[in-house]
């Protein structure tokens, strides 16, 4: 799973030569063998390295605060989102929905690695939602639909259909 994500990230970043990854542990944490030093372990670590390699530092955030927010969401993805249970899904979506109420992207005013990571992380949740639930978490759906349409971003994940208009009124339960 993580390896496909990294491969997708490489394509987005336009890195010509795909890296070879290994995994360690039963949680299949990705590992990248580095010629210049110790191996890089962990999805976040590897991804940040790839971003630096592609010379697109803006993807890691703008300014110190921006970078901190990006790191916060990368960590959120790996610690809270991955491996969350069905019962926690609603609570997570509610939290994200209120966070995204006044934001186009997770951090700053342009797309960052945080958006890419959160897109991959929430995909399985979004696929399972009914149309009514997607309308309920309107901000998450709006952000998700925007990110999945970014050129060169979506590779192996299926597109999630999002309707243009609301079909459920507030009276529906």
């Amino acid at each position: 799973m993580a390896l496909r994500e990294l491969s997708s990230l490489e394509k987005y970043l336009g890195l010509k030569k795909p890296n070879k990854y290994t995994t360690q542990g039963d949680r299949k944490v990705p590992v990248l063998q580095n010629n210049n030093g110790p191996p890089l372990v962990g999805l976040v670590t590897v991804a940040c390295h790839l971003v630096k390699e592609s010379k697109r530092p803006e993807l890691l955030g703008d300014g110190a605060e921006g970078r901190a927010v990006v790191q916060q969401w990368l960590e959120y993805r790996v610690t809270k989102l991955d491996g969350s249970s069905k019962e926690e899904t609603r609570a997570i979506l509610k939290e994200l929905n209120s966070y995204l109420e006044d934001k186009v992207y997770f951090a700053g005013h342009q797309i960052t690695l945080a958006d890419i990571f959160m897109y991959h992380g929430t995909h399985s949740l979004m696929v399972d939602l009914s149309v009514q639930e997607r309308e309920q978490f309107v901000n998450v759906t709006r952000w998700f639909d925007h990110v999945q349409h970014v050129r060169g971003l979506r590779h192996h994940l299926t597109p999630v259909a999002v309707l243009r208009n609301r079909i459920y009124t507030s009276r529906h339960h």
Binding site: S130, V131, A161, R171
Partner: protein, 521 residues
């Protein structure tokens, strides 16, 4: 006007009396009556009266009773009689406030200590048990502030005499005020609402609520509009048997009854008989009657017994003539309800708010394949010939509402594989059929089709569905002697009412519902 007279049991005695004696008696009677009236003005009459028969003397009263509905500003200052139920009674010092209820209407009434009423009378009124039926003689008085909690908001009754006609037991199984409270309000204010099982167990009292009265009056209207519309179109009403020898829709969901030395079944639909009537040259028929389905479904929209409104008609050149006829009937029903039952609709909406029912003229008709495309666009994965599941039907209903702004539409050309054996296949595409479903608020209310009217084709279709031909021999035979092309469909009265009003459980629109877990009342 009060007219009272005493009738003696022995009439011979009266006839024997002389004229003079009769005159004398009359004068004395008048005198006594005047005296009694004077006394009545000072002493108020309040007693529980039991109307029994067989007594040697019978007190017969004829009073003109006014309906609560008619108590308006026009009647201010009039002295009149009303018979109603005591909805509430509350004593406050020298006064007792009552709310009197009659079906959907209620009015405030007042008993105050004065020259018409004594302190004991006020106490008596306050102690009358809820739901007791009373006769009151009262003066209609205007009120300065509108009484919001009553249907008759501009007036109140000032009671001069009150009689209890039928007393209710003090402990009621449910409180009508709780039964009419909207669910949300109950939760917010911490007040009680009555759950459905309690209502259904004590249906007689639950049916007295304003909401129930409105629902079933509307339901009566649906039946009436159905009959009137179809009769105007030249349909003949028929009655079909409910005890039948073979299951009509397939053996799974049918009730078996013992029939002398053998067993028989309760009809799952009048399908076979409707068609036989068409073959018998009745051309256009409809029937209103019970339908029995032994389906062990405990859902919000299934009953084991419900009232079916069924239509069947011969057509000339295309089965769309049948669809047009049915949809026009439905539209006439919707219009009739909208124009003549607004009071009832608003009453139900008070407890169960919903959006008004919308429909188009002419009725929207979509093809099954279009519907599949709409669902796929919304992210649903389904096969071309797959039947619509209930969640998909509901989603489709929302999509159609958003796109076309209608709560009522027809879905035409269903896949042949998911329809019963007697459905006529589409001549242009063997995978589909000349069959249709109609939806209200995203839920199915009618399943219909053009029927196979050729005995050979019917036999072939039955074999394809692996149906025992012996069991349906009489049915197939009815098409051997010249049968016109025909089609039809059937709706469930309870479901149509439920969906028209925007309610969420079919038991609310069935007076004494039957489901796998309920056989009484």
């Amino acid at each position: 006007v009060v007219l009272t007279f005493l009738r003696r049991a022995t009439e011979e005695e009266q006839q024997a009396q002389s004229k003079k004696a009769l005159k004398k008696q009359q004068k004395e009677a008048e005198k006594a009556a005047k005296k009694a009236e004077k006394q009545a003005k000072l002493v108020s009459m309040f007693w529980v009266c039991c109307l029994t028969s067989g007594a040697p003397f019978q007190l017969v009263l004829y009073r003109a009773l006014v309906k609560v509905e008619d108590l308006t500003l026009e009647k201010v200052d009039q002295l009149l009689w009303v018979r109603a139920r005591v909805h509430t009674s509350r004593a406050k010092g020298k006064q007792c406030f009552l709310v009197l209820r009659q079906q959907q209407f209620n009015v405030q009434a007042l008993v105050a200590v004065g020259d018409r009423a004594s302190k004991q009378m006020v106490k008596f009124a306050a102690n009358i048990t809820k739901e007791s039926i009373v006769d009151v003689e009262a003066v209609v008085r205007r009120v300065e502030q509108k009484i919001e909690s009553c249907s008759q908001q501009d007036i109140e009754l000032h009671i001069e005499r009150i009689f209890v006609i039928s007393q209710a037991e003090p402990r009621l199984p449910l409180q009508l005020d709780d039964a009419v409270r909207p669910d949300g309000e109950g939760e917010e204010e911490g007040r009680a609402t009555v759950n459905q099982d309690t209502r259904l167990d004590n249906r007689v009292i639950d049916l007295r609520t304003t909401t129930s009265q409105a629902i079933f009056r509307l339901q009566s209207g649906v039946c009436q509009l159905f009959r009137d519309t179809l009769t105007k179109k030249g349909f003949v009403e028929i009655q079909t048997p409910k005890i039948i020898s073979a299951a009509s829709e397939g053996g799974a969901n049918v009730f078996t009854v013992s029939y002398f030395k053998t067993s028989a079944y309760l009809a799952q639909s009048p399908q076979l008989y409707k068609q036989m009537c068409i073959c018998a040259d009745f051309d256009k028929v409809f029937c209103v009657g019970p339908v029995f389905r032994a389906e062990d479904s405990n859902t919000h929209r299934h009953l084991t017994e419900f009232v079916g409104l069924d239509i069947e008609m011969a057509f000339n050149y295309h089965y769309h003539e049948v669809i047009d006829s049915i949809t026009d009937t439905m539209v006439q029903i919707f219009k009739g309800l909208r124009d003549n039952f607004q009071t009832e609709i608003q009453t139900v909406n008070k407890q169960f708010p919903s959006e008004p029912f919308k429909f188009l003229e002419p009725t929207l008709r979509l093809e099954f394949q279009e519907a599949v495309a709409m669902l796929r666009e919304a992210g649903v994965e389904m096969g071309d010939e797959e039947d619509l599941s209930t969640p998909n039907e509901k989603l489709l209903g929302r999509l159609v509402k958003e796109k076309y702004d209608t709560d009522f539409y027809v879905l035409d050309k269903y896949p042949l594989a998911v329809r019963p054996f007697y459905t006529m296949p589409d001549p242009n595409n063997p995978k589909y059929s000349n069959s249709y479903d109609m939806f209200m608020r995203g839920e199915e209310i009618l399943s219909g089709a053009q029927r196979v009217h050729d005995a050979e084709l019917l036999t072939e279709r039955a074999l394809h569905h692996q149906i025992d031909l012996e069991k349906i021999k009489a049915y197939i035979d009815s098409f051997r002697y010249g049968a016109p092309p025909h089609g039809g469909g059937g709706i469930g009265l309870e479901r149509v009412c439920m969906l028209y009003l925007g309610l969420h459980n079919v038991r609310q629109t069935s007076m004494f519902p039957r489901d796998p877990k309920r056989l009484t009342p």
